[in-house]
């Protein structure tokens, strides 16, 4: 890749970032409405969980579990609804064909979309922290190893991005049902240890979770935040997690490119909403 094509890549990325920023946050007032809605949804689901706690339970520990759950779930949701679902939006609005004829790889759009999503994730975590502090307790989080925390966070992003590529390709090739996607987006974090430390999960579910790439980043992330211990040696989990994530990303990109080739042969399909 020469300097000219790198420049062109940056230009595409900054243009798409600007476009998403303007359309999602400014023009649609998505920031204000989205954050209010999110705050209320969090209250709806956080309040019932407090009913399970005994009077002697340390609420700050519960709050820490909740915050890590929100963090992981919001990243999964963004992977599903912002990154995977974006393919449906591009196809339905007829934008995808235009992107294809420019000759630029459609994944460049994600270079603009991902930074915006990361801003969202930070805001969601902030709101989650405030809601939990107000309704439960101030979360007990100790990040003793900041580089490990950042690498674990990056690992989670890589895994979710790979999952989004697979989801996007499925949408591109077959058209997906939004309802099924919605269910998957709830089941996946539950079944793969997104919400719950693996050591607290039943043995069969824990084994299944360890076969997926999703369990490793969530487990290491919780460990780096001082919330829970990992089921294996943390360093080993970290290494397996990265190896698995990179293989998963490779598979996601391969599948996406295969989808593009098929699309060029067969044309763009109609994608159903639900």
């Amino acid at each position: 890749m020469n300097s000219r094509s790198i420049k062109a890549l940056f230009r595409c990325a900054s243009a798409s970032l600007k476009a998403y920023f303007l359309s999602d946050l400014i023009r649609a007032k998505g920031a204000v409405f989205g954050l209010i809605g999110l705050g209320i949804w969090l209250i709806i689901f956080i309040l019932p969980m407090t009913l399970f706690a005994s009077a002697t339970t340390d609420r700050s520990v519960i709050a820490a579990y909740m915050l890590s759950g929100i963090m992981v779930f919001s990243i999964y949701s963004i992977g599903t609804w912002d990154w995977g679902w974006e393919m449906r939006v591009l196809i339905n609005y007829g934008i995808f064909e235009y992107v294809m004829v420019t000759g630029v790889h459609p994944l460049v759009i994600y270079l603009g979309l991902v930074p915006l999503s990361l801003i969202w994730i930070l805001v969601i975590i902030g709101i989650g922290y405030s809601v939990i502090s107000a309704f439960v307790a101030v979360p007990k989080i100790i990040i003793s190893n900041i580089p490990l925390f950042l690498l674990a966070f990056l690992l989670l992003i890589v895994v979710v991005l790979s999952y989004a590529l697979i989801l996007g390709t499925t949408t591109m090739l077959t058209g997906t049902s939004g309802m099924v996607v919605e269910i998957v987006s709830w089941i996946l974090p539950m079944a793969t240890g997104g919400f719950v430390p693996l050591k607290l999960m039943p043995e069969p579910l824990r084994t299944i979770a360890l076969y997926t790439p999703f369990s490793y980043p969530a487990e290491v992330l919780r460990y780096s935040m001082g919330i829970s211990e990992t089921v294996m040696d943390p360093n080993l989990m970290f290494i397996i997690g990265y190896a698995y994530a990179l293989a998963f990303l490779g598979f996601g990109i391969f599948l996406y490119n295969y989808g593009l080739k098929k699309l060029l042969r067969e044309g763009v399909k109609t994608v159903s909403a639900w």
């Binding site: 209250i43 969980m49 009913l51 519960i62 099924v180 919605e182 269910i183 639900w274």
Partner: protein, 270 residues
Amino acid sequence: MRFSEFIELVKVEYMMVAAEILRRKAALFTIVAWPYVLMLFVVIIGSIMGGFTYFQQNVGVNPLLFFITGSYLLMTSLAFFDEIASRFLYDEFIGTLPYVIISPTSKVVLALTMGIPRLIINVLMGLTSLIPIYVYLRGPQGVLDAFVVILLSIFSALTFATLAVIFASIVLISGGKWRAMNILRPLMLLLSGVMYPRYLLPLITKLITGFVPLAHSVEVIQLFIRYNTFSEYMFMLMGIATALAIIYLPISMKGLRAWELKYIKEGAKT
């Protein structure tokens, strides 16, 4: 409008919704699975926070029973609001709203008709969600209890319909569209107490819930699954829910009419 015409309208709406759901098997699967997913979500995470025993001490009901009922009510109660607000928005999006507006059918009647098929389908969902869990926890008595809850959920949805039309009108008139809907929807669920008993809510929030018919009927259901009987207090709550529904009726009609007039005056937008 004659009653026979109203029934005809319900039939047409029902065929459309049923055809859509039967055609999309994934949608049918989701309708059946959704209450279980929500219940498991709360119960699994909640059990890590403490345990079923503590929940039972705090609320007086088994959490599985409480949350399967809550998840079911969550879908059933909002049938009218979801259908009215989203259908008109969807019609606007696909360009068919002008045709709906120029049709001679009263939009208020149409709006009230829209919710009925979705309500019927969601109520049928009670058979797949409530009955298995109720029977598992309460034995054969669970079937009867589940049917009582299903009947009460129909009462809840119907008494909430008029306020739902007002909220749907707010969504349509405000121009906030999906974004406004995404705020009002969880707000109504929070105020109704489907997932968290309203008597545990802060005082100001509890006072606001007094104006929401759904909150009263949901409390009746929660009391029924706890005590398995009807008390005078529960009948009083049902009376309040009915009275509120009647009070909100003229406002809901005016609200929807105001949106219709606004739409006619301003014309179709893309």
